[in-house]
């Protein structure tokens, strides 16, 4: 074997461009197969558009169109009425990976890293060789700019191939993006149709017009005229900072002393707390941040964990609110019972978050399958990786049997039910960059379970009521069945005539019905149900090989059957 020198090896060692990295690892960002890629590209566009509108306090109006160009080639067009983007920023925002405004601040938003939309542009470019076309206008009297953009994958720099001013008179302001890409359009629960619909459900303040490749146009009109409360930016909470980040912050801070660093860079740290942290870290408050060694930083990091610091403020999060959540569910599902809950804010690793849950039970839902789970994070539907998500895990570990659903141990319950869970946070912890599954932080799992339990208790009382009414109905029919027999027997025993026999029957009805009172009725009473909306995404796709709702293998017998066995056992015992 020929040995190689370090020098030789060094020749092969060089920078890896982030764009090159993506090219090889696009699955990490959700571009692994044509079907999912189409969805991910649209998702990134919609996320950005909604974020931009909300940040500028504009009620969003989105127009999304998917056009099929060839068997596997699509053009997606996404247009919003946002504030627009100044011309200088356009290339970087759309054609440079890891460029954005959201990574460095802590505020509730859909996007986080600044990868999404440029990844979509890159994906289109890689699969079709075509540049993305971006049009943006920032005000009524300003010109609209149209750019053709590509990403130079070796340098991760935008490559502008065409740049012109155009007339875009129908819009005062807004942004439009067109990307050609390879994809595959399917129906079903993981389809673009479903994604758009769910987005409309959890963003009732947005109007979304969507045209699918079959040229069907869906209009989801705005259901709420008010924007969600403005997402406030907060500084990092000391508990949430990692050592590496801390070292970096110490390097770049303008603060002159450690105490000043702590009070200015973090939330919830006043002079008193800062001094306490210094004491717990065995560091002097007037140490210069610039002079920090790695060891000192580690001391500080440990000191922070030892200090009691009040939880971060939580007014920086705007939940959907349980009323709107329930309203959305009513549109989608024609059920007999709805309930929802919004938990008080909680904190994981220094990041505040709020969990909301809602469920719909009975009605037109199928009863013998596992429940349908709808997951959302910061108002974005999560359609993939259900099995890896903390929401799914929390549902599986909640005891649904006591709430009236069937459930084998540690699996999703079954019954005519849909469970919806939404997490809002200044920083949603996803398990990967494709942002489809929540990470399993104990605090988050605990909050989700509490929200589910709150809904579950309400569900249980409804299921019980339903059962009582059913039994009552049974008893009524029972009465009707046997009254004639009582009358008949009396007729023969004491020789009543027909008139008196009839009277006995009438009186018996009065006696028995009187004691029972009015019969309640449970039925679907849901004027908000939108049949057309509910249909979207329902059609199952035949080659749904990637669909993650794994058909669960039911090993346990259904409860009813088990009870019957028990009864026969008991009967046998009494016979002995």
């Amino acid at each position: 074997m020929v040995q190689k020198s370090a020098e030789e090896l060094a020749k092969k060692q060089r920078d890896i461009s982030i764009a090159e990295f993506f090219e090889k690892n696009r699955h990490l960002l959700g571009f692994d197969n044509p079907r999912r890629s189409l969805l991910t590209a649209i998702k990134e566009g919609v996320d950005n558009a909604l974020d931009a509108c909300e940040e500028a306090r504009i009620l969003p109006e989105l127009n999304i169109e998917v056009i099929q160009l060839g068997e596997t080639r699509f053009k997606i067009i996404m247009e919003d009425n946002g504030p627009g983007i100044v011309k200088e920023q356009l290339p970087k925002i759309f054609a440079k990976l890891l460029y954005g405004s959201k990574f460095h601040k802590l505020a509730q938003s859909r996007g986080q890293q600044g990868i999404g939309i440029s990844a979509a542009v890159l994906y289109g470019q890689l699969t079709t060789g075509k540049p993305a076309v971006i049009t943006s206008k920032t005000g009524r009297n300003k010109p609209a700019h149209q750019l053709k953009l590509k990403i130079d994958t070796t340098t991760n720099k935008p490559d502008v191939s065409d740049d012109r001013e155009i007339d875009w008179s129908e819009k005062d302001h807004g942004t439009r993006i067109e990307i050609d890409l390879e994809g595959s359009y399917t129906k079903g629960r993981q389809s673009v149709d479903e994604y758009i619909k769910e987005t409309a459900i959890v963003n009732p303040h947005a109007t979304i017009i969507y045209t699918n490749p079959e040229a069907q146009q869906f209009i989801f009109p705005r259901a709420a005229e008010e924007l969600p409360a403005e997402a406030k930016e907060i500084k990092l909470h000391p508990y949430g900072v990692e050592l590496g980040t801390l070292i970096k912050m110490l390097e770049t801070t303008d603060a002159k002393t450690l105490q000043q660093f702590l009070t200015t860079e973090f939330v919830r740290v006043g002079t008193g707390t800062a001094k306490e942290i210094c004491q717990n870290s065995s560091l002097l408050p007037n140490t210069k941040p610039a002079k920090f060694s790695r060891e000192m930083a580690e001391q500080l990091h440990n000191g922070i964990q030892k200090t009691k610091i009040i939880a971060p403020p939580t007014d920086c999060i705007s939940p959907i609110t349980n009323e709107l959540l329930e309203k959305g569910l009513r549109k989608e599902i024609n059920a007999e019972f709805y309930c929802s809950t919004t938990r008080p804010p909680a904190v994981y690793r220094g990041n505040p978050f709020i969990i909301e849950a809602a469920l719909a039970y009975g009605g037109e839902q199928e009863g013998d399958t596992t429940v349908r789970v709808m997951r959302f994070a910061n108002r974005v539907p999560l359609l993939y990786q259900q099995g890896a998500c903390a929401i799914t895990n929390s549902i599986q570990n909640t005891a649904w049997r006591s709430y009236g659903l069937q459930q084998s141990k540690n699996s999703l319950p079954s019954g005519p039910c849909t469970i919806l869970v939404h997490m809002s946070s200044v920083w949603v912890p996803f398990t990967s960059e494709s942002k489809e599954a929540l990470a399993h932080y104990p605090e988050i799992v605990k909050e989700i379970k509490r929200a589910l339990q709150e809904c579950g208790r309400k569900l249980a009382s409804f299921v019980n009521k339903k059962r009582r009414i059913k039994e009552e109905g049974k008893k009524r029919s029972y009465i009707e069945k046997y009254i004639p027999h009582v009358a008949d027997a009396l007729k023969e025993l004491i020789g009543l005539d027909d008139i008196n026999t009839k009277k006995v029957e009438d009186n018996l009805y009065e006696i028995l019905e009187h004691a029972r009172g009015e019969l309640e009725e449970i039925k679907i009473d849901n004027p908000e149900y939108d049949k057309e909306l509910a249909k979207i995404g329902k059609e199952q796709d035949d080659n749904d090989d990637n669909y993650e709702d794994e058909k669960e293998v039911k090993t346990e017998k259904p409860i009813k059957e088990r009870n019957e066995n028990k009864i026969t056992e008991e009967k046998q015992k009494t016979l002995i």
Partner: protein, 365 residues
Amino acid sequence: MTTKKDINVIAKITEIAKGIYGKIKLIKQPELEMPIRALSNVEYNTEDGYFKQLNNKKTRTLTASTIKTFAQTLRMMNLSKKLIETDDIATKREAYYVSKNWGDARFREQPESDTVMDDIEAMMGVNREQIGFIPGEKGGAVAGKLTVIDIDKETGKELRIDCTKFGAGAYSIPSSVEHLQFETNAKFVLAIETAGMFERLNKHKYWKNENCVIIAMSGVPTRATRRFMRKLSDENKLPVYVFTDGDPYGYFSIYRTLKVGSGNAAHINEFFCVPKAKFIGVTPQDIEDYKLPTHPLKEVDFKKIKDVLNNDPFCLHHKEWQKALKQMAKMRVRVEQQAFSAHSLNFVMEKYLPDKLKNSKTWLP
């Protein structure tokens, strides 16, 4: 032929039906009242030696959940009235089939109709035969030094049945025994739990050597079998000895019911038990004395022992039985009549029974 007693039953049925009708006319919930049929509603009358019914009643008010049974009870009362009026009878099974004409009110299983029948019987405070129903069950088998005098229904003549002349077979006790008379010079009656043991004793003409009557009960003795033995005990002054398996069922389902009656049909206990019966075996002590092969007690056996020790008035009265049951629970075993075969097939006849009959100290009350 409707007798005066029968007219009383008809009158009572009509009276109950009229009471119900009266309530319904006033738009009030009608009720049926009947004695509670359980051990909790009897006391052990030591003077007369049987379980006497107490006065606790249960009321079945007509509601949505009781209406089916209510209708069935009335239907059954009506059937009973018709049977008496036409001097007919129906077996329990037949009554069950009659109900199949009642549409939705029909019985699904015979135990359901039996329960309703027992309720009516207790409500009237009479014997089942008096309301026109007879048991479908087979009575006991009899062999030995006994002549039963029956009457031929066609001719009205006496029928003399010699119970020594059935060979390998036996005389079968009819469902109604009230009219029977006996002639015997036997010294005692031996009541045996299993048909198998009866066969062995009969085959070897055990009754000839011992000068006795043997009766197979085949489990809990039927009312007729109990009444049959009672007549032998009362009218012919024969002692009755009982021989069952050594387990809680043999002691307190078979022997106790034979001797003092049951909680379930307490209203007829007075006539349908044999207070003078004595238990000769197999006792828990016999297991040790005769070194008998055993089986472990089952969960149900322990449950029965516990239940009897706590609730059975007969057991609560007799320390000897409490001692025997506790001994059995401690030994954790039960024994079958056939276990004596381990010594030799005729050990039971040649050794065990003669020994036991001689020594009344080994018996249980």
